[in-house]
Symmetry: C2
Subunit: 266 residues, 2 copies
């Protein structure tokens, strides 16, 4: 699938390669559907396992409670003694083996083994992000519109999560592209503010964002974001060091500006 | 706990050792209650894990279905392409690591490690069964009454499952005690007939029962039980061989009886 995402822009411009790209993506989507079915089957097996285990836990709890409520009376009955001992020598080892340490993953493992070759690769992943960024630049699209899945002229897609935006920024950061890192990390923060169940940690976003801002030369903004990071994670040593560094640079800048102003005045 | 079950009869006859036995059993019961609580906590963690996994499976299923319903339309949007590829390169490896191959067993493992020394042993288990058998003989108790947890003069206990009765018989079988093997395997069959969710496989019970009957010299009953076993598991080679052997022995007996009868007649 490596060439796939270089072709994505062609999809939009309706080139001859469009067909190949679609066929490969369709194949991946079918695998996604397959995987969903196998996951469902796995979850059902796991739920049956937990139901059995819950029954054992309930039995143990009830037995322990009942007998301890009047030990002399109950333990006079050797059938009870047998049942207590059985709990530890038979039921518990059996539960450990069959209900706790068994995995139900055979089917999933087999599926994975048979399908790995048709799975998109890490390169495809980076490629799909690069394609989106190229599209953003070519058509001057707003970051927020892309994150909402609204690309002009094509069908709306599901919206991106804060994590997805973070990933866009992270890949751009790795490519030394501070400009897009800032756009997408900012978007990640905006999405994060709306998410009930957070898809990414705010401090990770702030960490990338503040550093990209610093490299871009936006010292004051970098300082504010770093301060926000430290409000969340006061013990973040690197952020503390960065903050000191930014403050020194800002102080130096202000001093130089002061000197220049004085010079202007003089 | 090794001497514990030699003392169980003493509990009934109110000896000085009664106190020790009770204290040790009480301790085991408290561990049982502890274990039940930790099992509950484990089950809750596992259910949370499965809920997350089910959410992923649902997302995958919906995404695959929606996009495949009109691939050209949907896949023209590169945000969709990104989401498909992310499924395989980020979500799926993460799900495997965090939601499928993680175990949630740390707490249970720690508990087990800290408590194993106070767990009753295999010897205690065999001892608890021997104590029950000794009680049965001493007071001439009906097998069925014991299985129902009804020991005269003491508080009723929970009833024994078919598996429990099978275990009574199995331990007696290992001790070469065919008489009690037959009593308890027969009881296991009776309990099994009433169980909705079978606690032991009928063929296992029949296998022990038929052999004990044969050793006791009850050839015809052994043959009938072996036939019942073969009705359940026709490919059971050892049972087939046994059946042939029993049939030969019975034929020989009948022949000898016939000769004797003839002799009587002549």
């Amino acid at each position: 699938m490596e060439v796939l995402f270089l072709l994505l822009l062609c999809v939009l411009s309706a080139s001859a390669d469009q067909f190949t790209a679609l066929v490969e993506l369709e194949q991946a989507l079918r695998v996604e559907g397959e995987l969903a079915k196998h996951l469902e089957a796995y979850i059902n097996l796991e739920e049956a396992r937990l139901a059995q285990l819950r029954q054992l836990a309930t039995e143990m709890d009830e037995h322990s409670r009942t007998v301890l409520s009047d030990p002399v009376k109950y333990l006079g009955n050797p059938v009870n003694a047998f049942l207590v001992v059985k709990r530890f020598t038979v039921d518990w080892p059996d539960a450990k083996q069959r209900l706790i340490h068994s995995r139900n993953t055979d089917d999933l493992d087999a599926l994975q083994a048979s399908m790995t070759s048709s799975f998109p690769s890490e390169d495809d992943y980076v490629g799909s992000i690069e394609a989106l960024i190229r599209l953003q630049d070519t058509y001057a699209l707003e970051t927020h519109r892309i994150a909402e899945g609204k690309i002009p002229g094509v069908k709306v897609s599901p919206k991106m999560s804060a994590f997805d935006c973070f990933e866009m920024g992270r890949v751009m950061y790795n490519e030394g592209d501070q400009y897009h890192t800032i756009l997408w990390m900012q978007e990640a923060l905006d999405q994060l503010a709306q998410e009930e169940s957070k898809s990414v940690e705010e401090e990770s976003v702030l960490d990338y964002l503040s550093y990209a801002l610093y490299v871009q030369g936006n010292l004051r903004h970098a300082r504010n974001i770093t301060q926000r990071l430290l409000d969340l994670v006061p013990e973040h040593t690197r952020a503390q060091n960065n903050l000191n560094h930014y403050n020194q640079l800002i102080a130096k800048e202000e001093q130089e500006e002061g000197v220049r102003k004085k010079g202007d005045d003089g």
